[in-house]
């Protein structure tokens, strides 16, 4: 079966623009996570969905960042008024919650460059 897919793989934008990053989780996975990975760093948690609702959005850096998952499957991470500091790889992961098994499967990421 297909893994987690993310589109686009690369996105170059100008400071101040709006961007949307898409994540298609593994079919049947109810939990979906967004992380941000800066160069030379480990992934940093942004937000977690269980079904359609955001169960934990404590990692979103500010109100320019917003994510949705309207039908409990595909998710979109939206960034308004992008800043150069937003440049990073945005990773999406999904998991199938069943008891204590909660392995997170990561997609390849979207590399966002803000000029």
């Amino acid at each position: 079966g297909a893994g987690v897919s993310q589109t686009p793989s690369n996105k170059v934008t100008e400071k101040g623009k709006y961007v949307e990053l898409r994540c298609d989780p593994i079919s049947g996975h109810t939990a979906l996570y967004w992380y941000r990975q800066s160069l030379g760093q480990g992934p940093e948690f942004l937000i977690y969905f269980q079904g359609t609702g955001a169960a934990d959005d404590s990692g979103l850096p500010n109100d320019r960042f917003f994510a949705v998952r309207p039908e409990g499957s595909v998710s979109t991470l939206k960034i308004q008024r992008t800043e150069r500091g937003d440049s990073a790889v945005y990773l999406c992961a999904s998991s199938f919650r069943q008891g204590t098994s909660n392995e997170q499967f990561f997609g390849p990421g979207t590399r966002l460059t803000v000029l």
């Binding site: 987690v4 939990a31 996570y33 992380y35 030379g40 760093q41 480990g42 992934p43 940093e44 948690f45 977690y48 269980q50 169960a55 934990d56 990692g59 990773l91 992961a93 204590t100 909660n102 392995e103 997170q104 499967f105 990561f106 997609g107 390849p108 990421g109």
Partner: protein, 110 residues
């Protein structure tokens, strides 16, 4: 308290040698400790994981040693191979989200 500290930052090992990466944490509420392997341009992939009620877990050439009282855990890669060259991240889970270490870049030379 939510940090996971990882060392070393980089590691060079000869083929057939043992690679050892260490991590330490503070939050005793962490309930799951995975190790991820990441190749350039790819997302992290789960390598092996352990729960805090177990002191050691082995899968093939990969072993996690876990010391709950010291709040430390480590990854041992036996018989390291050039194909193991990648960046390794330890992580700890807190209420479903993963807190990652800063990564160790492993290079295995033939």
């Amino acid at each position: 308290q939510q940090q996971v500290k990882q060392s070393p930052q980089s590691l060079i090992v000869q083929k057939g040698g043992i690679s050892i990466i260490n991590c330490a944490y503070e939050n005793t509420a962490f309930d799951y400790f995975p190790w991820y392997q990441q190749f350039p341009g790819k997302g992290p992939a789960l390598l092996i994981a352990i729960r805090p009620d177990v002191s050691e877990k082995k899968e093939g050439r990969f072993t996690i040693s876990f010391n709950k009282s010291a709040k430390q855990f480590s990854l041992h890669i036996m018989d390291s191979q050039p194909g193991d060259s990648a960046t390794y991240f330890c992580a700890a889970r807190s209420t479903d989200k993963l807190i990652f270490g800063t990564g160790t870049r492993l290079q295995v030379f033939p």
